[in-house]
Amino acid sequence: MNFPVTVTVTLRAGIADPEGATIERALPALGFDGVTHVRAGKSFHMMIEASDEGAALEKATALAQRLLSNPVIENATARVGDSGWGAP
């Protein structure tokens, strides 16, 4: 079976995020007040062939650790499900 999977990569807590900080500073100028703790990250969408949902998640977690994130500075989380990216 093929499962739609989304992997989200964000900077670990305590790692400076100049991109998130810059976005946060820009928001009040656009009228969006009260937005704090902005952290920039990346998300990856893919189809994973696996016997069941658990196996798909395991594979996604492994590839997220090995390639999609740098564990020195980033965390990666994987979840199974169509998150609206247009999974086939």
């Binding site: 400076a16 740098n70 020195v72």
Partner: protein
Amino acid sequence: MTKIGVVIFPGSNCEYDALTAMTSLGADADFIWHSTDTIEGYDGIILPGGFAHGDYLRPGALARFSPVMSAIAQFAKAGGAVLGICNGFQVLTEAGLLPGALQKNRGLTFLCQPTTLIVASTRSVLTRAASKDQELSIPINHFSGAYTCDDATYEQLIENDQVVLRYKENPNGSRDDIAGVSNVEGNVVGLMPHPERAMSTLLGSADGRILLEGFLRAPVSAS
């Protein structure tokens, strides 16, 4: 004659500068394509600057899986001298051959400017011809050059004398002004500044020669 291999990944762009710097110092140097899986007959390896594999995902993230990297890891483990400049430094951290990581610059701007570096350790293959606390004028040219690591790694760096070079004035937000680090043994070194672009006073500075002459000094393995 000392023989140096300069690795080319798809997207490297400082390989000719590195090669020319080496030959101008009297070394024999040639290129190594990234898909090569063995490296033999070299005294030292340079990973040059550029945008290996487009810097897609993260700088160095995909280059780490190029076949040549396994050979370089073995070469390094055997004590061979390995130097990563700019993108090459990013590749070495992604490959786990050097500790820490390089993040986007603090100001989110691409920095291309001369910097003054301070030699923090003369134990490494890159700084062994320099003096401790010596100031060197070497340019930087990067977007992701802010050196970062966790506290435990930082303590190890200090304890093992692995911080090789620091910026006199921190341009990019690097932790503790770090511009370059080595592995514990000192035979693998990475730095964001470009010594190969500081080879002639006509072009601004010849201080890169002090570093690269040290890199070529026999025996090539770390003392």
